[in-house]
Amino acid sequence: SAIVTVRDALNQALDEELERDERVFLLGEEVAQYDGAYKISRGLWKKYGDKRIIDTPISEMGFTGIAVGAAMAGLRPVCEFMTFNFSMQAIDQVINSAAKTCYMSAGSISVPIVFRGPNGASAGVAAQHSQCFAAWYAHCPGLKVVSPWSSEDAKGLLKASIRDDNPVVMLENELLYGVPFEMSEEAQSKDFVVPIGKAKIERQGTQVTLVSHSRPVGHCLEAAAVLAKEGVECEVINLRTIRPMDIEAIEASVVKTNHLVTVEGGWPQFGVGAEVCARIMEGPAFNYLDAPAVRVTGADVPMPYAKILEDNCIPQVKDIIFAVKKTLNI
């Protein structure tokens, strides 16, 4: 195995998929000659040239529409948003053109496109650059939405997304780009793909189920380590895919642990955690809950700038521990 940062894992995935299928191409702001705003596409323009790696002007609505049209006509674009905050400029193309066309055309036109980029909170970038779009995109039929945490997630999900014939929204996280993770031999192979729609149990446990996605998965594991010392064994589920959600994995876990805490970076109202709780209530696992499910989320405010304020607007390890203890009544 090797230690690989999320950034390098994404870079490898792009390189391998560009090589594998000549219909794949990358477009977005600064992806080519700048090597990517966050260096995810480092070296790719040098290797593949102008035809495959395309720098766009600052025209999200325009270039996203162009990418979607190219997908309709048989190419397999990867459309990068410098951050998903800017995708709001183009959201009509993502939803009305990409997500809905396969259905509206009764399957005759497919849109094999990947929209990817950093999502959610970063560090000190303030309100307009820190929003989480998981709930927004996962709300829409016609889209698949994935949210990697580890390098293995990042590489495997990006490869799976590019190979998927549906429009896929891949929500990365800027703070994770530089984080190194161990990657197995298998995960480093060119054919390694993480299936979309399957969650991963990152840590086995018996007393409480922690469900999370993206960066907060790491916080859940930290919280689990602290709680283990106090004799509480947490099962940590890394969703990996937001839509279609692997609710069966969560149900199986809740049946075992009888307690549920969801953890996400996004705002509390109408979010990913709300969806998990609703589905658990509607399904067989409800009867196994010994306490109401609890959500740990970002604070219901636009993200402030100052560090002390920002730190208290995102789920911290102590918030997760607090929620677990409240659920377990300890």
Partner: protein
């Protein structure tokens, strides 16, 4: 005497709906042509309006040759679209078609002129006023009407409706004003990428022409020299807002700025054809995008919810109908230049009406859609 000598039975070719409708036809529909077909001219040459040009040294030819065969084909296609739209009007008023229904009657010369100038391997995308384009690109009338009436056999299996019709190399059918323009440039990007010398006709209206995303698209199409023919179908009104009230500059063919443009008489199928040939040749030569403004007119309101007379006068509509109707224009040209007979064209008129009526729910009741099978599945 001459008539008798030249009398010959002739069956005018009817087209794809023929076999289905033929069963309902009576013997009286077999017309006796009053003249032998060799009496007609094979072709004629017509003067067409010179196009206004923007950043172009020369424009399309000011003469167009029309063969008899072409003329009959254009006539039949335009008449079929006209009758199909009028039938849709009826069906909508009977509440058999629901929701939005944007009719194309008056604008037939545009979609027909475009189609006959391009190849089936070229690509077309437009907005929501789509029935004419769907037919021109090969979707049968039967499946268009089945789709509109939400019945089995609809071209989008009931999932799309009036605004979302698709077929090979025809990408709809797009409801969000202006959104189809970047899509079209993306299709053009794919054309360039694959290197098969195909182009994409990307249509939008005078209303959409003020959308910001269109200007973003002009920029990228020009930067990357995409083989995209931008086409503004200017029918003078964006819903109820006249062009003068919506645009600081109504010279839509110039709005592409650095993109060369031409303004075309959209009521003349030959003008549209020649301009499209010119424009597609420009793109295929690798010179980048080009912009055509087709000056046209819609007889109906914006949609079936709009009577179309609160923002324009009945006199204006009537004037266009009497002086510039695209079908009448072609008909007169053909008659006056001995390319066809009045009877022959009348036969086409009646034939297309019959064929369309035969596709209607009352005449040929298609089965209603099955719910469970269709709701979630494609």
């Amino acid at each position: 005497m001459r008539k008798m000598l030249l009398a010959a039975l002739s069956r005018v070719l009817q087209g794809p709906a023929a076999t289905a409708a033929a069963a309902g036809r009576t013997a009286s529909r077999v017309m006796v042509a009053s003249r032998n077909y060799t009496d007609f001219a094979n072709e004629a040459t017509f003067e067409i309006k010179k196009c206004d040009l923007h950043r172009l040294e020369e424009g399309p030819s000011t003469t167009a040759v029309l063969t008899r065969e072409e003329g009959l084909h254009y006539y039949k296609t335009m008449q079929t679209i006209r009758r199909m739209e009028l039938k849709s009007d009826q069906l909508y008023k009977q509440k058999i078609i629901r929701g939005f229904c944007h009719l194309y009657d008056g604008q037939e010369a545009c979609c027909v002129g475009l189609e006959v100038a391009i190849k089936p391997t070229d690509h077309v995308i437009t907005a929501y006023r789509v029935h004419g384009f769907a037919y021109a690109r090969g979707v049968p009338v039967r499946t268009i009407l089945a789709e509109l009436t939400g019945r089995k056999g609809g071209c989008a299996k009931g999932k799309g409706g009036s605004m979302h019709m698709y077929t090979k190399n025809f990408y709809g059918g797009n409801g969000i004003v202006g959104a189809q323009v970047p899509l079209g440039a993306g299709i053009a990007l794919a054309c360039k990428y694959f290197g098969k010398n195909e182009v994409c006709l990307t249509l939008y209206g005078d209303g959409a022409a003020n959308q910001g995303q269109i200007f973003e698209t002009y920029n990228m199409a020009a930067l990357w020299k995409l083989p995209c023919v931008f086409i503004c179908e200017n029918n003078r009104y964006g819903m109820g807002t006249s062009v003068e009230r919506a645009a600081a500059s109504t010279d839509y063919y110039k709005r592409g700025d650095f993109i060369p443009g031409l303004r075309v008489d959209g009521m003349d199928v030959l003008s549209v054809r020649e301009a499209t040939k010119f424009a597609t040749e420009y793109c295929r030569a690798g010179k980048g995008p080009i912009l055509m403004e087709l000056q046209t007119y819609r007889y109906h309101g914006h949609s079936m919810s709009d009577p179309g007379i609160s923002y324009r006068t009945r006199e204006e509509i009537q004037e266009v109908r009497s002086k510039s109707d695209p079908i009448t224009l072609l008909k007169d040209r053909m008659i006056n230049n001995n390319l066809a007979s009045i009877e022959e064209l009348k036969e086409i008129d009646v034939g297309s009406s019959t064929d369309i009526s035969a596709c209607c729910p009352q005449a040929a009741p298609q089965a209603p859609l099955g719910l469970v099978a269709h709701l979630g599945a494609l």
